[in-house]
Symmetry: C2
Subunit: 328 residues, 2 copies
Amino acid sequence: MRIALDAMGTDRAPEPEVAGALEALRDFEPDVEVVLVGDEATIRAELAKHGDPPERLVIQHAPDRVTAADPPASVIRKKPDSSVVVGLKLQQAGEADAFVSAGSTGAVMATSLFTLRPLPGVDRPAVGTLLPTVGEPCLLIDSGANVDCKPNHLIQFAHLGSTYVRDTLGRANPSVALLNIGEEPGKGSELVAETYDLLVAEPGINFVGNVEGRDIIGGGYDVVVCDGFVGNVLLKFYESVATLIVSRLRKGLDPAKADGDLEFVFRVLDYSETGGAPLLGVGGVSIICHGESTPSAIKNALVVAAQAVRTDMVKHSARDVQGVEVSS
Amino acid sequence: MRIALDAMGTDRAPEPEVAGALEALRDFEPDVEVVLVGDEATIRAELAKHGDPPERLVIQHAPDRVTAADPPASVIRKKPDSSVVVGLKLQQAGEADAFVSAGSTGAVMATSLFTLRPLPGVDRPAVGTLLPTVGEPCLLIDSGANVDCKPNHLIQFAHLGSTYVRDTLGRANPSVALLNIGEEPGKGSELVAETYDLLVAEPGINFVGNVEGRDIIGGGYDVVVCDGFVGNVLLKFYESVATLIVSRLRKGLDPAKADGDLEFVFRVLDYSETGGAPLLGVGGVSIICHGESTPSAIKNALVVAAQAVRTDMVKHSARDVQGVEVSS
């Protein structure tokens, strides 16, 4: 198995990428290789700081780099030598099995769509993001790829999220909840009211009903389904609150004060280690990390990518989403 | 001025209501009366614990009580003797100038619409909720009354929010931002992309552009406009995170540890004192409080209600919303 890692994605690239790749390789089974994609000289210089690179670390030269200023949809044409395009084309050509990047979310999404293509039966690939909770993390899908959705898109998200959680987190029969503004059936916007009825009838989905904004943090749901507008607003709001609180409390923290309650708060709020958000519903594995990812976050994303490949997540997604009628 | 206060609204009614009313009357100008609406014997028993009631505290007997099980829209017909219906009818009859309740949000909203009626030019009255931020609180409107909105509804929310913030918080020329998933014009769903263009052209609105979920908590916006679905999900999510974090940290807190940073966190997260969410766009003042409101929260809601009456907020709303074309 080969995982392509965009070495030029984070704000401090390639340092976290190189360190994260080395960490991951120490833990990986011997059949996993990591391909660092980016400017070769820059990567070599960073690697040199860590002593002899392991054999299972390969470099794929890609001299160009995507910036936040590049319109996402044009990257594949205008920056063919960028680490994002070169890395994803490796997977398209069958020379890699997965792609991980902390670069521009929009560029990674758009280029993944162009190269890996939506799976048959998937109208709208969607981003799933693991949200920390008091219990196990839950997957919020869609967390930003699709703003105007139809009920059948949300049904597809429910399938894609279930398959992902089952395969990469090993949760059998994942529970799926629909994000809404009330618990009763029939509540909410036209979109979610219609989606509710479809989810109840949909085979292969362990639908447990509506979930309100207030119920997420308490845990207990494996997958929470919503359109990408609501999901993105919620996710970004949460990240900003979490960052504010954690940074403020960490800053002023006397280590002696780091008792159980503060540790609890940090655990619930600190999503920085969760390891990337997959673009689900495409014909490959594409994981998008934060621009400020630490080496551990990069490592975790690589571990998730390997798990998705190992479990045939893409094949299972294609199988599970079959039969969902495509919206007009 | 007379403010009707639902004495049977909170989970521990009428204790917080009575204590909050007494606190408010100590601070109010001598021309303000509070009418406690609810079961007279129950209210008198509670009042007796506080010594002689002030003259400016009046009791309006209402033997019945709205519960969470009552369908909101039927309360006005089926529970005419409830504190919610009696209290709002006082205002409808001109015997009170404002209504404050910590009872069922849905029942207060529906009964307010029936009794106070939407203002001319307002299709959809909306709930505004003050969200604490690092800076000044911002008003999130709509935070739950209307799930499927059209662009002109959001324009009306922008006016209603601006007028409320100007009159009750004394902020001149309030800034209005549109909740979106990107900063650039043209971003987001059809609804917000169209609303953006209308807001740019709308007279009387100090529109400052899109705001992302991550930008709210940092402060700097007086009014954040969104549809009631997104607003409600966001608000309930925030409340649950805030409650979880604050309760957990307070529980484990050695007072000696309550340094500046923890105090900061409590201030940003603890919305319990903010004093109620107004239903805006109706022909009167109706303020909805949390079911778990403390006496201070009730007092603050009464203060806001008095301020809204004092500043002629309703008249100004009717004036400011004029000219917004009504959506078909």
